[in-house]
């Protein structure tokens, strides 16, 4: 019995990381209705950025966030205003195809620049420490931190959307970009800010990801799929939903992995398909 409880707990903790992957994607879906195929590759790119920062400055990976987060914010803003804004506006093909192209470019550029060898970010011990809940269940400090950060970010984004003027501008632009412009909202700038915030979150997710496991240039697509599944399972329109979706995915994968090591990822996919079949709007959708 405690074996399954342990699996559940590990799954929830894993889900915290998946929620971090997914929250940025959820923000972009919500504000711009953009499906960013390069999202996972941007996570990997950010991990390599952190690696470069750590190697050149000697900072710890968590301290490197002070550089990586603003850098990724600027990258996101520039990417949106310089390229992706031109793909928005009705037809679904351009944003999909352009972000798909970006995905391939990023993966192969990283391969050329860093080779295919897996790399890692090290915290010097903290990442392996844990405390014991009794009955042989160990809860890692680091995965718990990741989950905590995911919860904090979900809360922060809910507050942003609900309380402050920028959040209202996000929701209004998502509803009706033209009417929002008539109210003085510069939609091009708002989209840039949204992408900037999303990639800032990606930077955080990337550092935690790089500490928790090794990463390689071609890891992007899987991160995208997990992030996507977390958003759809949780339901569109709510960051709490995305958090829940990440946790459900994490638990599904943990259960699958326990049944057979080759099934971990597959069970996650099957859970996603099951949600599609039986609750297509997700577990906690916010109807708009």
């Amino acid at each position: 019995m405690s074996g399954w409880l342990d699996t559940l707990i590990q799954g929830v903790l894993l889900g915290g990381l998946y929620a971090l992957f997914a929250i940025g994607l959820s923000l972009i879906f919500g504000v711009m209705r953009l499906v960013n195929i390069a999202h996972g590759d941007l996570i990997v790119l950010a991990a390599y950025l952190a690696l470069v920062v750590v190697d050149t400055t000697g900072l710890s990976p968590l301290a490197a966030l002070a550089i990586c987060v603003p850098a990724m914010f600027l990258l996101g803003y520039a990417l949106q205003r310089g390229l992706l804004n031109f793909t928005l506006g009705g037809d679904i093909l351009p944003p999909l195809l352009v972000t798909f192209g970006l995905s391939i470019i990023i993966q192969n550029a990283l391969l050329q620049g860093f080779s295919a060898d897996p790399r890692a970010l090290r915290l010097g011990g903290f990442e392996t420490g844990s405390f014991h809940l009794g009955a042989g269940i160990a809860v890692g400090y680091f995965p718990l931190l990741v989950l905590g950060v995911a919860v904090a970010l979900a809360f922060a984004l809910e507050m942003l959307f609900a309380r402050i003027p920028l959040g209202r501008a996000f929701r209004a632009t998502s509803d009706d970009p033209e009417a929002a412009q008539l109210m003085g909202v510069n939609d091009r700038h708002v989209y840039g800010l949204a992408m900037g915030i999303a990639l800032s979150i990606v930077a955080v997710a990337a550092v935690f990801y790089g500490i928790r496991t090794t990463f390689a240039p071609t890891d992007g697509p899987d991160r995208l799929l997990f992030a996507f599944e977390a958003v759809i399972i949780g339901g569109l329109g709510s960051f709490w939903g995305t958090l829940a979706g990440g946790i459900v995915l994490g638990v599904a994968q943990a259960v699958g992995f326990r049944l057979d090591p080759g099934w971990g990822v597959l069970t996650g996919h099957l859970a996603f398909l099951a949600v599609l079949l039986f609750r297509p709007t997700g577990l906690f959708p916010r109807t708009r």
Binding site: P165, D175, Q181, L182, M183, G184
Partner: protein
């Protein structure tokens, strides 16, 4: 305050406006009438920046604003109550009003004053804007535009989809708004209403001004002829 000079507008290769000249001064209520397809919405879109046009074609407070982005034009002082209201469904009534003040333009209009003008909205402030009746939505849309403290308020087809008694209550509010020195440009389907409410009127027909003059001086046959292009 606002003037257009030989304003032309195109949708791709299709020309919708063929040289419109009009003027609106402070404190005036000017109406634009015309059949569907005459170019009324295009004219408003050109003024508010949703449709491109030559820079000199639209002048506001002495500045050439043609072709500027819509959000810039709002910050210069032109606000619109769009056709169909276009309140934001994801926002509550109060949030819709707050969004009107996004650019934080200085002026007399605040949330409290808008609620004074439209007491019905005050009760419904936390309600999603989709839960309002047609008349209440129209009031919310006007309130939202007022929150931008505009110098020129444009009202596009406010009577659409509303019962006559509701239309009357909406238009009864306008004189209050104008006493602040705001200019009003109204597009209205109901010709009689437009003539009653405004001081001057322009009649558009197939992208051109077919008739212009003081509302009380124009006769019915004159207006009919211009409206239908006879």
């Amino acid at each position: 305050m606002l003037s257009t000079h030989n304003l032309t507008a195109f949708y791709g290769d299709f020309q919708a406006l063929f040289g419109i000249d009009l003027e609106v001064s402070a404190g005036e209520i000017v109406a634009i009438i015309g059949a569907n397809g005459a170019g009324k919405s295009t004219l408003l879109k050109a003024i508010t920046g949703l449709v491109p046009t030559r820079s000199e074609a639209v002048r506001f407070m002495g500045e050439a604003i043609g072709g500027h982005a819509a959000h810039r034009i709002l910050s210069l002082g032109i606000a619109m109550v769009p056709e169909g209201r276009r309140l934001f469904p994801s926002l509550t009534v109060e949030e819709n009003l707050q969004l009107g003040a996004y650019r934080k333009r200085a002026g007399p209009w605040t949330l409290e004053r808008v609620y004074e003008l439209f007491p019905a909205l005050s009760e419904k402030r936390r309600v999603p804007s989709t839960a309002l009746s047609g008349g209440q939505q129209q009031m919310a849309a006007i309130g939202r535009a007022l929150m931008a403290n505009p110098k020129l308020l444009i009202c596009d087809e406010m009577s659409l989809g509303l019962a006559p008694i509701v239309i009357k209550s909406v238009y009864d509010v306008l004189p209050t708004v104008v006493t602040q020195g705001i200019a009003l440009l109204i597009v209205e389907q109901d010709v009689g209403l437009a003539m009653r409410v405004s001081q001057r009127v322009y009649c558009l027909q197939e992208g051109r001004v077919a008739l212009a003059g003081r509302s009380r001086d124009l006769g019915r046959e004159q207006v009919s002829a211009a409206y239908f292009g006879v």
